[in-house]
Symmetry: C2
Subunit: 328 residues, 2 copies
DNA sequence: TCCTTGCGTTGGAGCGCTCTAATCCGCCTA
DNA sequence: TAGGCGGATTAGAGCGCTCCAACGCAAGGA
C-alpha cells in the first residue's frame, strides 16, 4: 500500500487537487464545508504532505540545514536545542548533519546539506575553509562561534574577550597573580579568548602566560604537565579542557581550589556536574541557537540584506574550583 | 542567479538532459568523451544535483531519518557516529531530528521525518508509544535501545542482563556483598539491567536492593541520599547517574573506592575522563550505530523481510571507582 | 433583464529530476 | 548491398505538489 497522495484525498473528498492543496496550506479562501470534508478524507487515509514535492513545486523550502562540527561536545547540543525550538515555531524543519571536526568531512557535509536546497544553513563551529563556505552560499548562511568578514553571512558569537576578562578579574579579585591561560589553539574563538586574557592581565599589571592547547581534555592535562614555573590559577580553553586540567593537577598532588584555582569556559552541563563543580564562563547557548535561527529566518524572508554580527555577553558562574590563593 | 539545473548543464555540454542524468548517476553506458564533457560543464556551472527532485522522480530515497531522543546524552552522539559513517559509505544521507525525551515531541519529530519520505527510520532510545511507531511504519524502522515485539521493526540492543551481571560479578570478585542497584526507572533498557542485577545477586546468594532512579545525575545523587542501611558498592543506572552517585558519596564524606565502589553503565567519554575514572559497562556504541544502519539498509534493499533482533555484548571496563571493600 | 462583482473552485502547466521506450548510428555478417 | 545488431543517446511522460489564470455562480446594481 503506497502512501496516499493529494490526488487520493481529493478523490475521496470529492474535490479537486488544488482545493486540497489550499486546505493543507491553511488558506482562508475555502468554505468551511469543503475544508472539513478534505480534512476528514485526509485523516481517514492517513495522508501527510510530501515535503519534497511541496518544496519542489513552490520553489521555496521550509528546511534549515544545520552542520554541527562536533556532536560530542555538549555545547553544541544545547545550541541545537535553541535553534530547533525557534525554527520549529516559525514552521521550519531542521536537517542536521555532522562534520566531525575535519575540513574535508565538513565540506562533504555541506554539499550534502545543499542537496536538500534548504532555505538557509547554520554552521556550528565550522573549521572548514572560508572559500568552501562562500561556494555554498547561495542561500542565507549563519556561522555560530566563528567570526567572518564575509558580507553574505551572519555570525553569532559570544564576546570572548569579555569572557576571558571576567575570568581574570574574578581570579585577581580573589588575590591571584600567577594566572596561566591554556588556549584553544586554532579552534574556533580561541583567538579572542586569548586576546581578552592578555589585555585583562596587562590591565592588572600582571604578566600573561599562555600555554598552547586545544579544545580537548587531553590537551588540558598535557598543558598543565608542561608548566614548569609556579602558578596559582588556570584559565582553561573550555570546560572539557578544564577537566583535563583538574586531572593533571590531582595527579601532581595539588588540591583545587586550595593550591590552584581553575576556570573553564562554556558552562556546559559537564561543568555543572557536582562531582566537577567547575567555575566557568557561561555562554548563553540556547540564546545563541535562537539568534542563529532568527537571523537565518529574517534573511530567508528577505527582511534584511545587511550582514548581522550578533554578539552575546558571557557571564561568570562561580562554583567550587576557584578560591583565594594560598598565603605563603 | 538561480542554481543551475540539469537542463543548464545539458545545454552547456551540448547533450540531452537524460545523458546528464546518466553521468550524474555514474552509469557505465556513457562514452568517455561525453562523460568528461558533462562533468566539465557541471563543474563550470557549480552544478550539484537536487536531491529532492531526484527522489521524487525515482520514487526512491537516499535519506535515512534518525530521531535522537536526547542529544545531550553523549551516548547517542557516539551511536550517531556509527550510523553516519556506515550510511554515508552506502550512499545514504542522514536527516537527524531530536525528540527531547517527550512522547509528544517525539511524535512530532517522527511526523517531520516522514514528510521527507526517507528510505528508513532509526529511532534512538525512543520513549514514544508503540502505536505511534507502527503508524509511521510504512518504511523500514529500527529501534536502538528499545525492544519491541513488532515484526515490522528491527531492534538493536545490548544485552542489559549480561551487562549488569558483569558488574555484579566484578564487585563480588572484589569481595563486595552489599551491592545496591540504582535503576533507570521507566527509561529504555532499565528493565533488563534491573533483572540482570537481581538474577546475578541471587546467583551469588546475595540479597538484591534496588533504589528507584532515572537516567540523570540528580537521580543518582538523590538515590544515594535516600539509602539508609549500609552498602559497600553501587551499580548505577548509567554513567550520568553514576556521576551523581559519586557527588552524593563525596558529600557524605565517603571515599571512592575505599569506602564505596561505584560502577556505571555505557562507557561514554564522560566515564573516561580521568577526573572521574568511572568503572563501567561498555556498550559498543559505534557498532550499535553501524548495526542499525546495516539493518535499515538491508531492509530498504529488500534483502530481508523478517525482523532482526540484534544484540551486542557489553563488556566490563575497570577504572578507578572500584576496589575491594573495607575489611571491618 | 443583463451586466458586474467577488468568492470559491478548478484545470493545467511546470518545479528538477528519473525512467522507459524509441531512435540513431557505426559496424559486422550474409 | 541490404539486413541485423548492439551500444550510445534522446524524447517524453510523470513523480506529488504549488501556482496562475480562468471559470461558475449567486448576489447586487443598472
Amino acid at each position: 500500500m503506497a502512501r496516499p497522495t493529494m490526488e487520493d484525498v481529493a478523490a475521496r473528498a470529492g474535490v479537486s487537487r488544488a482545493l486540497v492543496s489550499l486546505v493543507m496550506r491553511g488558506s482562508p479562501k475555502v468554505s468551511a464545508a469543503r475544508r472539513t470534508a478534505v480534512l476528514e478524507a485526509a485523516a481517514e487515509l492517513g495522508y501527510s504532505p510530501h515535503a519534497m514535492a511541496r518544496s519542489l513545486a513552490s520553489r521555496t523550502s521550509h528546511v534549515l540545514g544545520v552542520m554541527v562540527s562536533d556532536l560530542h561536545n555538549p555545547f553544541w547540543a544545547e545550541v541545537v536545542d535553541g535553534l530547533d525550538g525557534h525554527a520549529r515555531a516559525a514552521g521550519f524543519e531542521l536537517v542536521i548533519n555532522t562534520g566531525g571536526r575535519s575540513p574535508s568531512r565538513e565540506q562533504q557535509a555541506l554539499r550534502s546539506l545543499t542537496s536538500f536546497r534548504p532555505a538557509g544553513i547554520a554552521l556550528l563551529g565550522p573549521v572548514v575553509a572560508s572559500s568552501a563556505i562562500t561556494a555554498a552560499a547561495d542561500v542565507p548562511l549563519v556561522l555560530v562561534s566563528r567570526s567572518s568578514r564575509l558580507s553574505i553571512v551572519d555570525t553569532v558569537n559570544d564576546d570572548g574577550r569579555a569572557g576571558s576578562a571576567l575570568a581574570v578579574d574574578h581570579l585577581v579579585a580573589l588575590g591571584h597573580r600567577e594566572i596561566v591561560h591554556i588556549d584553544g589553539g586554532s579552534g574556533s574563538q580561541a583567538a579572542p579568548r586569548r586576546a581578552g586574557y592578555q589585555v585583562a592581565m596587562a590591565r592588572h599589571g600582571l604578566t600573561p602566560r599562555v600555554a598552547r592547547g586545544e579544545y580537548t581534555e587531553a590537551a588540558g592535562a598535557a598543558a598543565v604537565r608542561s608548566l614548569r614555573s609556579p602558578f596559582t590559577a588556570v584559565l582553561a580553553a573550555n570546560d572539557l579542557n578544564a577537566v583535563g586540567v583538574l586531572s593533571a593537577l590531582a595527579e601532581a598532588g595539588l588540591r583545587v581550589p586550595e593550591d590552584v584555582s581553575v576556570v573553564g569556559y562554556d558552562n556546559t552541563w559537564l561543568a555543572g556536574l557536582r562531582h566537577i563543580g567547575l567555575t566557568t564562563i557561561d555562554q548563553p547557548r540556547e540564546e545563541m541557537g535562537r539568534l542563529a535561527a532568527t537571523a537565518l529566518i529574517s534573511r530567508v524572508r528577505g527582511e534584511r540584506t545587511a550582514a548581522a554580527r550578533l554578539v552575546v555577553q558571557p557571564t561568570l558562574v562561580v562554583r567550587a574550583t576557584t578560591g583565594p590563593p594560598r598565603t605563603q
